[in-house]
Assembly symmetry: none
Homo-oligomer: 193 residues x 4
DNA sequence: TATGAATGAGTCTTCATTCAT
DNA sequence: GATGAATGAAGACTCATTCAT
């Protein structure tokens, strides 16, 4: 059963999702959230003890939303390939629908001027180009297959890299010996199947 | 030649790196940066027109540092495999050395209580478990090779996924048809080589 | 006859006495009073039109309690001496039983740190020491009788002084010529009898 | 030497003295203090870390002012009698000059309506009348001397009483046996000399 | 009669930025 | 060139009071 209280909480969280999504935690104000929710400022405090708590509950709500969807999307598929495709598509759709929210919430874009975004874009391209160059060279020397989509390959490398690096740091027990590094690279090279 | 002015700028940026790294953009104050740099608050404004500009220049400095190193590390290797290993190791080393800075700068750790971190950790595990389940099922059914390191495989999937999804959104020209999705998944499955 | 309404009013006043006694007027909230009384917040407004009125009625209730007791205690004694002793003892007992309430209600203890209380205590000692020094010097020179309890004498001087000074200010008709000052001091020196 | 900083601090304290004197701690706002001092609101925080600290420093300043004056006034007199008269006069003068400040700071007059003040005044009279009645009865029966100023006598009793009672409570080591009560009453009756 | 829910008005406090020296 | 001092603008949070039920 959905309580009256629970319903109002959801309303506030959804307003927060919009406001913090557009403005980030520090730029989004409680006043804006209240206005967005169509309620008084103090009312929020009847449901969330502080801005921090509201933000956290909002994140949980947001992430749980993602998980449920991702789970459902993959569950009904049978092969690994179709599962991965489903997951990829779901992910893209989700990211697309929440593009603004994510962009602002993840990045520090609020305090980054247009001029600067350009600069950063170039940098990102440069980072990417390192992977891209490796891929191109590899195709050239025959180490990599010639039908490879270079851009996607580069993206996979970078994404996988970051994902693994981060995990290495925050989950130290996964170990940090070179064997894992080779394992990682080998999977990338030979594929999962 | 390094000008006097340039030298001072670097000092400030390095102080900013420390302060914003520890506290994030909004929590880090100009006063702290000044104190860290051992200069007066107003002096910063002689070198950077605003907090925003300082932060941006700091990011550029930070990222360029990464790029230079990444470039050097891969350049001297010959095969794709050794290049990728070098890049992976460099990346891990870099992330490790800047772990604190990155963690604070990237995440919203300031306004996230310990209690909440735990909650989020569980969620992250859940997200990961979706990929993990797919991998496990795949090994079981023989679709994936049995010698696969499940955790690393899951991490690769998630990282690659995010990287590609994000790119899809922000670089629309890369197209958004299912062909690419299949391409992406196929590369993951069959590997780069 | 005690009406139902009157009974409820008393309950609220007693709750207010506790809450405002512990927290002072501004720190004590209507919400706390309501909780203490075991009723809803809005209910208080059925009996008292505002926080101010509640506070005032509470004071009246408190003071009347004192007066009744003080009256009873002195009434049944016969000599001035025994009356004064009875009054003194009653006063001490009353103050003692309400020590906490009085202390908080009178002082600004809320916004006074422990560190500061110490400072203030020293000051109070200093004030006291002025009277004390006079007493000691007087005993030394023989102006005051040698069997005098110095501390009590000093306290009497200070209390009487404040009481009279305050009255001078707020009851101007009592006059403000030096004759009264002499009169006052003479009573202190020669006693009432 | 009076530093620039010290001078500004005094200015703020004096403004606070006026504002808090007129309005009490909770009613007086930092904005008012700033306006009174002719400075910006934030400037206060350059000198005092919080409203609380400002208030405390203000109290210290206020009390020290009193003490210095009281000390000076009594020091230059020779006999106990003249010392007491000097102290009394100083006290009256001080209270008179700070009447408003004291009245507001001590009492809770801000949240007490005119109507209520009347009520309280009557109560005070009643309290006083208890002492007054004892005095009158005493004069009648010959226990007290007939030339006694009844009002001043009553004030002395009440003031001394409160002073001693309070001390009993907060300075427990002074003991709480009846001997002291008698001692106290005897001093009142027989005088200090 | 009793009250939970809602809220606007009000206040402390922070901080990027300016400017006189 | 360097800076301490000053500050306006902004935002989180509180609470007495109201009102629909």
């Amino acid at each position: 059963m959905v309580t009256q209280r629970g319903k109002r909480q959801i309303e506030i969280i959804e307003a927060a999702l919009k406001v913090f999504g557009e403005n980030g935690f520090f730029q989004g104000t409680m006043e804006e959230v209240a206005k967005e929710a169509g309620i008084g400022k103090a009312t929020i405090y009847e449901y969330f003890s502080s801005k921090k708590e509201l933000f956290q509950e909002m994140l949980v709500y947001f992430v749980e939303d993602y998980i449920t969807g991702a789970h459902d999307a993959t569950e009904k598929e049978n092969t690994v390939r179709s599962k991965l495709i489903a997951l990829t598509e779901y992910n893209i759709a989700f990211v697309k629908s929440k593009a603004d929210t994510l962009q602002r919430m993840t990045s520090r874009s609020e305090h980054v001027s247009e001029d600067f975004k350009c600069k950063i874009f170039n940098i990102k391209q440069t980072v990417c180009s390192i992977a891209l160059k490796i891929v191109e060279k590899g195709i050239e020397t025959g180490e990599l297959r010639s039908d490879l989509d270079k851009n996607i390959a580069a993206l996979i490398i970078i994404g996988a890299l970051n994902s693994v690096s981060t995990e290495y740091i925050f989950n130290e027990e996964i170990a940090s010996n070179t064997i894992n590094t080779s394992t990682f690279v080998d999977i990338l090279l030979s594929g999962l199947s």
